[in-house]
């Protein structure tokens, strides 16, 4: 039964691996025969890749909205909503939705009253505040009487959902899991329900959970703290500079009303691509999928941000003095993924960082023996908008961030002054092809890629056509781009300098100013 999938992938693979240059139309056609793309009347796009074999499928729901779309003053909202999307709907997770809905409205009113008092700049009445808090807690308890906790995920897991999770990036929000193929319709019901019919259930306790996630990822992690400050320093206007999980004061005051408004604006058909890969036959399954996902509201695609990060003209740097071991990172502003030079940045990253032959490894780790690890890469913190090409190095004991910086700059200078070798460029191209092929092996990985490319280019085929751009990269391109981008005035750097804290110093708990 694997014969079917065997033939198309082998054909494609040969075309990519053996024929230098682009895929010919024929091969793409053979791939196309197994992929069905359907845009529903509400604008939602389904991409289905039929890959029989094991009786399983994987899916990725790709929402073209992430932390950059958090409204001002509400950082962390996209991520908060992602958590809410696991809390169920008017049908699942409740014993009595009409009554719960009324109770949730009271929770919202109680929270509003509490926050209004909390935020009073002068004349805040602490006694009243405590009372309002009691009312809020009681309202939550009243609403919780109708909740069947975690029923949505419980039903998914009991039906074999595997690697169930979701991620909120700066650019997008993704939901994904794998399941036995005989649960396809059940999955379609679950997934379309939560996209179309999210309710603000248990929002405020989930907000506490997200605050714990923030403590884990950022506040209690030395590099987490550094990177948050680094990005905030590198960007002056674009929300790429904002904490994706949210500034403590903001994320701790997000309301369910705000989360639902985010949902109404961004969780509409035209902003959603769902890719399914596995033992799913579009011929028989598409009508069922159309029925369920047709329930998602339609509407015009929300407009992208107007803010464009202004050109940086002054070098910036920050130093974090911390008890943890030293670390160095620097970043240079580069254009978005749609830039014609996108593949050139990939080539630079590959030649500098990929494997033991890479220049940064050979230079800093092997020859100079000053770093444990060193690399350069694009796409920090996202790639939909102009982002950073970053370099980092982890010093060996006894070596300093300043040494990392100097050594990295030497490698950058080499890139600017001398062409890379033919062998290096050929290696990049070979590895790009092989990596693409290797990525086809995994249902979940392929679903992610198809959904992402369909969203970002309007056509999943770009996943394969990308190789055209890879092939066109020249040595001159690499020098040109390096000279253009890796200049002092375009640089932001950050480092950890190891230093014991002064006696009596404590961490930031309690200084976050949240509404808890």
């Amino acid at each position: 039964m694997r014969l079917f999938s065997r033939s198309w992938k082998a054909a494609l693979a040969l075309a990519i691996a053996v024929v230098a240059g682009s895929l010919c139309a024929q091969d793409l056609k053979s791939f196309e025969q197994r992929i069905t793309t359907k845009v529903l009347p509400n604008g939602l796009t389904l991409v289905i890749c039929y890959r029989p074999g094991a009786p399983v499928f994987s899916y990725t729901t790709f929402i073209d909205a992430g932390a950059v779309d958090d409204p001002s003053g509400e950082s962390g909202l996209a991520h908060m909503f992602e958590h809410l999307a696991f809390k169920g709907t008017s049908e699942i997770g409740t014993t009595n939705w009409p009554a719960e809905k009324l109770a949730l409205a009271k929770v919202e009113a109680a929270n509003d009253a509490y926050e209004a008092e909390f935020r009073k700049p002068v004349g805040r009445d602490e006694k009243k505040l405590a009372e309002l808090k009691q009312v809020f807690v009681a309202a939550q308890a009243a609403a919780e009487k109708y909740v069947v906790p975690n029923q949505f995920t419980e039903v998914a897991e009991a039906n074999g959902a595997h690697d169930l999770n979701a991620e909120t990036g700066l650019d997008e929000t993704e939901y994904f899991w794998s399941m036995p193929e005989n649960r396809l319709e059940l999955w379609a019901w679950l997934e379309s329900s939560r996209l179309a019919d999210t309710v603000p259930r248990e929002f405020y306790k989930e907000r506490d959970v997200v605050m714990e996630e923030r403590r884990m990822r950022v506040d209690s992690s030395p590099t987490g703290r550094l990177i948050e400050q680094f990005l905030a320093t590198a960007y002056v206007a674009h929300p790429y500079g904002r904490s994706d999980i949210g500034w403590p004061s903001e994320v701790s005051q997000i309301t369910a009303t705000e989360a639902m408004a985010f949902h109404r604006k961004y969780y509409i058909g035209s902003n959603i691509v769902i890719a399914i890969v596995g033992d799913v036959n579009p011929k028989t399954d598409l009508p069922m999928l159309e029925k369920y996902f047709g329930r998602v509201p339609g509407g015009p695609k929300p407009e992208d941000l107007t803010t464009v990060e202004p050109a940086q003209f002054a070098e910036k740097s920050l130093v974090m003095r911390d008890p943890s071991q030293p670390f160095y990172i620097e970043g240079y502003h580069r254009p978005s993924y749609r830039d014609p030079d996108d593949a050139v940045y990939d080539a630079i990253s590959d030649i500098l960082s990929n494997g033991r032959v890479s220049r940064l490894y050979r230079g800093l780790v092997e020859d100079q023996q000053i770093a444990e690890e060193a690399a350069g890469f694009s796409g920090l913190p996202g790639d939909k908008y102009p982002n950073l090409f970053a370099f980092y190095a982890i010093p060996l004991p006894g070596h300093t961030p300043a040494q990392m910086r100097d050594a990295i700059h030497k490698e950058i200078d080499k890139l600017k002054m001398t062409d890379v070798t033919d062998a290096e460029l050929a290696m990049y191209k070979t590895r790009a092809r092989a990596d693409l092929l290797r990525g086809l092996d995994d249902n979940q990985g392929l679903a992610n890629s198809l959904a992402e490319y369909q969203t970002r280019y309007g056509d999943w085929r770009e996943l394969f056509l990308d190789l055209d751009k890879v092939d066109k990269v020249t040595k001159a391109d690499i020098r040109r781009v390096a000279n253009q981008v890796f200049v002092d005035s375009n640089r932001t750097s950050a480092e950890i300098d190891t230093e014991a804290p002064p006696a009596g110093a404590t961490a930031s708990e309690g200084k976050s100013g949240g509404a808890q």
Binding site: R2, S5, R6, A10, A13, A54, I92, N96, V137, A141, E144, K145, V147, V148, N150, T153, E154, E157, A158, G160, H162, D163, S178, P180, E181, N182, R183, E185, L186, K205, D208, V209, E212, E213, R215, M216, S220, S221, P222, D279, P323, S324, Q325, R356, E366, Q368, Q369, E372, I394, P395, P397, A423, T430, A434, R438, D441, P501, A505, T506, E509
Partner: protein, 491 residues
């Protein structure tokens, strides 16, 4: 936030009663109306197993989906078998083996050759084995296989590459107290197995400083005579591949099995242990005890209990500590099931400093509750559904089947272990669960480890009422003398 209104408790109870038609008479469950047709027939493809006369076992797993061929050789003997005064030897060996290369081709030249072909050969050192693995496009497979075999049998360990590996390890030692989660994981295991146990002792500057090239040679010479397990998968002709593998491995002398280990596993000394970390605002809590290994017939029952206690969104720990109380983002736990030695029982959570004691108490209650709060049929059904309906994902690709077969072979388990295990999970009863909880869950023997910010933890850990809090010192021992580890290449 740490308050626990009584109505919230009733919510918890209601969860387990959702199937009761009396409580929710009007509740229609649309998802239960959706048909679940029979699963498409599927028989996972098993690799061909070849046992050579010398005892070496080969698995060949054909997979023509993509034009790649991959292979690996598993070699018994790992860090648990190394000389304690040279702790870290196997870790250094795993790195320096590949980076050194062979007499015919040194590691750097191998890097150049392989990377140009988007191919890989890597070596690794683990606690019970070392290994070599390779993969490449089909067209390069013969050359890559020859190289891998040259490296497998004829490494030429190089002093400079050992030095490079040592520097990496030095850096890891120097950084090992930076990450709170890593500290908790490491120290929790030490509480269970003991700090000097072969499973938990840690490399120090002095122990890795003592490792020489001669040690690496000796390690290779000893372990390469062991009962190797070879696995190859991908787009190859099975007849030709078998001939090729036989030509390499068949001529070797009979294998020398790794001597059996006789480790003692005492389990933790009960009590509360604390590690102070000034730069965090969240506590890492681990509640630990000694667990069991997979030979134990109670494993299927404990796997179901794991699911009920800490497996996923519907588990008792997640429902209580995350969903109901909002005290943690990360909370989970259960019995770790090892193949040839007892694993650890562990419940982990992370919570803000001020709720450390509160969250720990709730976790302890859930553990104790395994004996006092009867398991329900709903819990049992759900846990079994979770395990059985996702069971498919243990063997849904040819590579996963191959990995599993190699693992079973390595630890001496029957080839049909997964099927037997699955059948046993299906048969687990409420009585089995209750009996297993009684047999294995003994809160009074458990240790509680907290890594967190001392001054911020209020109330203090002494209020847990488990005696005086024992501080654990994690200061990293300084290198004993001026390092002999500089090389002429250093600048």
């Amino acid at each position: 936030m740490s308050r626990l209104p009584s109505c919230m408790i009733s919510v918890g109870v209601a969860l387990f009663a959702t199937t009761s038609p009396i409580l929710f008479p009007q509740q229609a469950k649309p998802w239960e109306q959706i048909p679940v047709p029979p699963l498409h027939a599927f028989k996972p493809q098993q690799p061909k197993r070849i046992e050579l006369k010398n005892g070496i076992v080969v698995f060949l797993q054909e997979d023509h989906e993509l034009p790649f061929i991959a292979g690996n050789v598993l070699i018994p003997g790992g860090s648990r078998d190394e000389d304690p005064s040279k702790t870290g030897l196997v870790g250094l060996y795993g790195q320096a083996w590949r980076t050194s290369g062979t007499a015919q081709m040194n590691g750097d030249a191998m890097d150049d050759l392989l990377e140009a072909k988007a191919a890989h050969i890597e070596t690794d050192g683990d606690d019970d084995s070392t290994s070599i693995a390779w993969d490449s496009l089909k067209g390069d497979a013969d050359q890559v296989f020859s190289l891998a075999m040259d490296l497998l049998f004829h490494p030429k360990f190089d002093a400079e590459k050992l030095e490079l590996a040592r520097q990496q390890e030095d850096s890891a030692i120097a950084r090992r107290n930076d990450d709170e989660g890593a500290i908790a994981e490491r120290e929790a295991a030490k509480l269970v197995y003991g700090p000097a146990s072969p499973y938990t002792r840690q490399p120090e500057f002095s122990t890795i400083g003592a490792v020489t090239v001669a040690d690496l040679d000796a390690w290779h010479e000893r372990t390469i005579k062991g009962r190797l397990i070879v696995g190859i998968s991908g787009d190859f002709d099975p007849v030709a591949m078998e001939a090729k593998v036989r030509s390499v491995f068949e001529a070797l002398p009979p294998v020398t099995p790794e001597p059996p280990r006789h480790d003692a596993f005492a389990g933790p000394a009960p009590g509360v242990y604390f590690i102070d970390k000034e730069d965090v605002d969240q506590s890492n809590v681990a509640i630990v005890a000694l667990g069991i290994d997979r030979h134990n017939p109670d494993v299927p029952t404990l796997a179901v209990m794991n699911e009920i206690l800490g497996g996923g969104f519907a588990s008792r720990l997640f429902q209580k500590i995350r969903t109901e109380l909002g005290l943690a983002y990360a909370v989970d736990g259960g019995f770790g099931l090892e193949y040839d030695h007892p694993g650890t029982f562990e419940v982990n959570l992370m919570t803000k400093s001020v709720s450390t004691v509160d969250a720990t108490r709730h976790a302890e209650e859930e553990i104790a509750g395994l004996n006092t709060r009867p398991f329900t049929q709903t819990e049992l059904d759900r846990a079994k559904d979770d395990i059985l309906n996702s069971f498919l994902f243990r063997y849904d690709t040819p590579d996963k089947v191959l990995d599993e077969r190699e693992r079973l072979e390595f630890y001496g388990y029957p080839a049909d272990y997964l099927e037997t295990y699955r059948a046993a999970v299906e048969k687990v009863t409420l009585a089995n669960l209750a009996a297993a909880a009684k047999k294995y869950i003994h809160p009074e023997t458990m240790a509680v480890l907290v890594v967190g910010n001392g001054p911020e933890i209020k109330p203090g850990l002494d209020t847990l009422g488990q005696g005086a809090v024992k501080a654990i010192d994690i200061t990293i021992p300084k290198p004993q003398q001026a390092s002999n580890s500089t090389t002429e290449k250093q600048q």
